[in-house]
């Protein structure tokens, strides 16, 4: 019987082409019409060390990393040792004949292929081992290799015969699999694609979204897993007329982003937790001086230096509350790769419209996973610009350098003059009156805090939310960020078990959409909040403001949730009002 989708892992040593093999396989499967979503682990060493590439592919859109490994391909013994525990009860293991012995428990569902040897035979070099692996997978799953051959030719165009050698290995792997491993595993064939699709990572999607929104100033400091945003922009932003600068640290990056935003640019930085912490003071300045800015935080596992290559959703507190005093800012979290693109645009639109810092919380798993998504129609993704000053003279006519930059408008949003045009004023983080002049009276402070916080209210009411399932359900899953796919699948699993379940994923987390959460929650018998963190940061925010009972599901393995983990937690732990375990 063919599976609706299949989760496969390539496990080996860094340097053996595990990752490049996985990349090409994913691309090839994508071009062959499959949907795909990847996940990988990184070695602790700078170079070398064990690594693993996982891809789940199927005929329908893939929402999460997959509950277990259906097909494990081991490049070496260590790969087997480290990964075999993830293999499902009916999962298949294919091991390198030369270097890997599979244990007894896989008897009957493990096979050997002499990857290196095959490569050597057909190409004269053992280097093609990973292509034999890719070919093996194509043979097993009946994926046409034509597209992959193209990719190989492109990738190795400047490397002499390497392309041809790799293609030979690929085909040899495929042939061997078709001949010697028939019907070992099967996956549903995809139907015709309804739309164009693209394959990219969360970080790549953020870059595309930011550029679409009009990004023209980027400053950042390298940090895993955000560095490739800096690198990608360094390579291409000049083609869009902007600049990308690698600063001496994150404080400098954020300070310069605010300077650029003040000067009228659409400015962004990208970092991970440690950098976000360092930006705390300046994020407070941005909120107080009301300067648009976008901060991408690709979360990694904390605390402190923590586990830089692992994923976690543990920066929400820092994003929402990090900064002394009470400095308003907006926090948003994308849930999928295509949502990264949309949220990047949203981030700029919100930053510009509300004149505020916007922190976009992605995470390591989302930053670096490759996902096939429908190609977004950019012409339909609207871009907004800030309210500037049409005729400052009419509003000003006042003494030198005293434009009422912080005018108390009912909306809380005051027109912002851009240096180079009339309307000179001083932007400041000192408490200030409408002209930006320092003022320490109770009235001014109250009025300005009101202005800065209340202007964000429309976001709570109007920002985007995705929800699945019925309005009245036994189980509601409330979450944020990259866990959505797993949560939606978990709801499907529960529904299939006869327990009605729904999901609710707001994009804007601060300000929290309190009324909308309450309205949705009213239809749920019990609400579970799954978070890849220790304390349940989002659950605590929701309890603080919505005053509804929640059940936290917290897990900090450094890996994303699987749907099964969420469903199992609910089945094991949640008793509904009726008293029965779900």
């Amino acid at each position: 019987m063919a599976l609706p989708d299949i989760t496969l892992q390539l496990a080996g040593e860094s340097g053996e082409g595990v990752i490049s093999g996985g990349d090409i396989l994913t691309s090839g499967a994508g071009r062959a019409g499959y949907w795909a979503l990847t996940f990988r682990t990184y070695p602790a060493e700078i170079k070398g060390g064990p690594c693993m590439f996982q891809v789940r592919i199927g005929a329908e859109r893939i929402k999460s990393i997959g509950n277990q490994t259906d097909l494990l391909i081991c490049f070496n013994q260590e790969g087997f040792e480290l990964q075999h525990a993830t293999v499902g009860d009916e999962g298949i293991v294919i091991a390198d004949a030369e270097s890997c012995k599979v244990s007894e428990e896989f008897a009957g569902r493990s096979f050997e292929v002499a990857f290196s040897q095959i490569a050597e035979e057909v190409s004269g070099s053992r280097r093609g081992k990973n292509m034999v692996v890719v070919g093996t997978v194509c043979g097993l799953l009946d994926i046409d290799t034509a597209e992959i051959e193209q990719l190989i030719l492109q990738r190795y165009a400047h490397k002499g015969d390497v392309g041809e050698a790799n293609i030979a290995s690929l085909k040899a792997g495929e042939k061997n699999a078709r001949e010697n491993l028939p019907n070992v595993c099967n996956v549903d064939k995809p139907g015709p694609a309804e739309r164009e699709r693209i394959l990219l990572s969360g970080n790549q999607a953020i870059v595309a979204g930011a550029l679409h929104a009009g990004l023209n100033y980027f400053a950042g400091y390298p940090i895993t897993p955000a560095s490739d945003i800096l690198e990608s922009l360094a390579a291409r932003i000049s083609r869009f007329g902007g600049v990308a600068i690698q600063t001496e640290d994150e404080i400098s990056a954020m300070a310069s982003v605010l300077g650029a935003g003040y000067a009228g640019a659409k400015a962004m930085t990208a970092t991970s937790g440690p950098g976000l912490s360092l930006m705390s003071e300046l994020i407070g300045l941005g909120g107080t001086a009301e300067i648009p800015s976008v901060i991408i935080d690709a979360m990694r596992a904390g605390p402190s230096t923590g586990m830089p290559t692992k994923t976690e959703q543990s920066d929400l507190n820092q994003a929402a509350y990090g900064s002394h005093g009470e400095a308003p800012r907006v926090v948003i979290a994308p849930t999928t790769v295509d949502d990264c693109l949309q949220c990047a645009v949203d981030a700029f639109n919100i930053a510009e419209t509300y004149q505020t810092p916007v922190i976009l919380l992605s995470d390591q798993s989302l930053s670096h996973r490759l996902e096939t998504v429908d190609r977004p129609d950019l012409s339909r993704i609207e871009v907004e610009d800030r309210l500037t000053v049409a005729d400052p003279g009419s509003q000003n006519g006042s003494p030198a350098s005293a434009f009422p930059r912080y005018k108390l408008e009912p909306s809380g949003i005051s027109p912002m003059p851009i240096p180079g045009t009339p309307g000179a004023y001083v932007s400041t983080g000192i408490e200030h009156d409408e002209q930006g002049h320092p003022s320490y009276t109770a009235e001014v402070h109250q009025a300005m805090q009101d202005k800065r916080f209340k202007k964000l209210d429309p976001l709570a009411a109007n920002a985007r939310v995705t929800t699945t399932g019925p309005e009245k359900a036994t189980i509601g899953i409330l979450g944020w960020g990259s866990t959505e796919g797993a949560a939606v699948e978990a709801a499907e699993i529960l529904t299939a078990q006869g327990v009605s379940a729904a999901t609710f994923y707001p994009r804007v987390l601060a300000p929290l959409p309190v009324e909308r959460i309450k309205a949705w929650a009213a239809g749920m018998d019990a609400i579970v909040v799954p978070e890849v963190n220790y304390t349940g940061q989002f659950a605590r925010m929701v309890r603080a403001d919505c005053e509804i009972p929640l059940i936290q599901f917290n897990q900090i393995t450094g890996h994303p949730f699987t749907a099964r983990q969420i469903a199992d937690f609910i089945t094991a732990n949640v008793k509904t009002a009726a008293g029965a375990a779900v």
């Binding site: 691309s27 994508g30 071009r31 019409g33 034509a146 597209e147 995809p190 139907g191 694609a193 164009e196 699709r197 394959l199 990219l200 790549q204 870059v207 595309a208 679409h212 100033y217 400053a219 291409r236 000049s238 083609r239 007329g241 600049v243 600068i245 600063t247 001496e248 640290d249 404080i251 400098s252 990056a253 300070a255 310069s256 605010l258 300077g259 650029a260 935003g261 003040y262 000067a263 009228g264 640019a265 400015a267 300046l282 407070g284 300045l285 096939t372 190609r375 003494p399 030198a400 350098s401 005293a402 240096p419 180079g420 000179a424 004023y425 001083v426 932007s427 400041t428 983080g429 000192i430």
Partner: protein, 286 residues
């Protein structure tokens, strides 16, 4: 190019009265700045003054131009952002010795290395004025202050030497009470395409009143000082710290120049073009 409007120093005065103490050197730096701006014919709407926090940090409020009063120590990276976002703006960064060399000191060498096109004027009073008189990085060894009641155990930072080591493209020292010369330095700094650093002695009459000592002690670099000789400039910087003048100049491509070159060399692209790079030319299974 808009027609140049004749301007007067007082055109750059804002409606806010400085809150500095009587006799504070910052008044002199402010007056020199007004004059420099006027003499260069700067346009208030096209000029941005960026500062950090300190008595001197209040500076932008007193100038009729755009201003940006950042947090403590971040004037330089802020000014870089302003300038690189809109290279047409004239960007001046100002601040105190604490703001610039203590908390903000980490940004200085990088602004210099990048040769970002801004002029940085430090009002150096060898003390923390706003927080009421603690020693700063430029305070003298053994100097007494509320935070060094038995005398400063640290040795002062040599700002000229630091700037020359960082290869800032224009390095000068002036004094608030030498208004004409300071005006000229500020003008020269603004005219230099690149990172210009002007350390302006500016006495704090309330917490470290060096007014008389400084007035009595200042002198100028000799006529024959070769400001393009980095080693010579450094040697000068080790001599009498009360020596004013242009210590060092090293004209080279500015940060704006370099990024302009990148932009010029780049082939324009669209985001759709970018997405093409991720496209899957899907072949649906038969």
């Amino acid at each position: 190019m808009p027609e140049t409007i004749q301007r007067d120093a007082k055109d750059f005065k804002s409606d806010l009265k400085p809150i500095w103490c009587p006799g504070c050197g910052d008044y002199g730096v402010l007056a020199a700045t007004y004059r420099a701006f006027a003499e260069l014919g700067l346009d208030p709407d096209n000029t941005v003054i960026v500062s950090g926090i300190g008595c001197s940090g209040r500076f932008p409020g007193f100038v009729n131009s755009y201003g940006y009063h950042s947090v403590h120590g971040r004037a330089l990276p802020t000014a870089m952002g302003v300038k690189m976002a809109n290279p047409d703006l004239e960007v001046i960064a100002v601040g105190g010795d604490g703001d610039g060399f203590a908390i903000g000191g980490g940004h200085f060498p990088h602004a210099a290395r990048r040769n970002v096109d801004i002029t940085y004027v430090v009002m150096d009073n060898q003390i923390y004025g706003l927080t009421k008189g603690q020693v700063s990085p430029t305070s003298l060894h053994d100097q007494k202050s509320p935070s060094s009641p038995f005398g400063n155990t640290e040795y002062p930072l040599n700002t000229m030497a630091t700037a020359i080591a960082a290869d800032a493209s224009f390095v000068a020292r002036g004094a608030s009470f030498r208004a004409k010369e300071l005006t000229e330095l500020i003008k020269a700094g603004i005219q230099n395409k690149g990172f210009s650093f002007i350390d302006a002695y500016s006495p704090c009459t309330s917490f470290n009143n060096t007014t008389q000592i400084w007035k009595d002690g200042v002198k100028y670099l000799p006529e024959d000082h070769d400001s393009t000789d980095r080693a010579a400039a450094f040697a000068r910087a080790l001599e009498d710290p009360l020596t004013l003048g242009v210590y060092y100049e090293n004209a080279r491509p500015s940060m704006v120049d370099q990024h302009d070159a990148l932009k010029k060399a780049a082939e324009p692209q669209t985001v759709d073009g970018l997405l093409d790079g991720y496209a899957l030319n899907i072949k649906a299974a038969a």
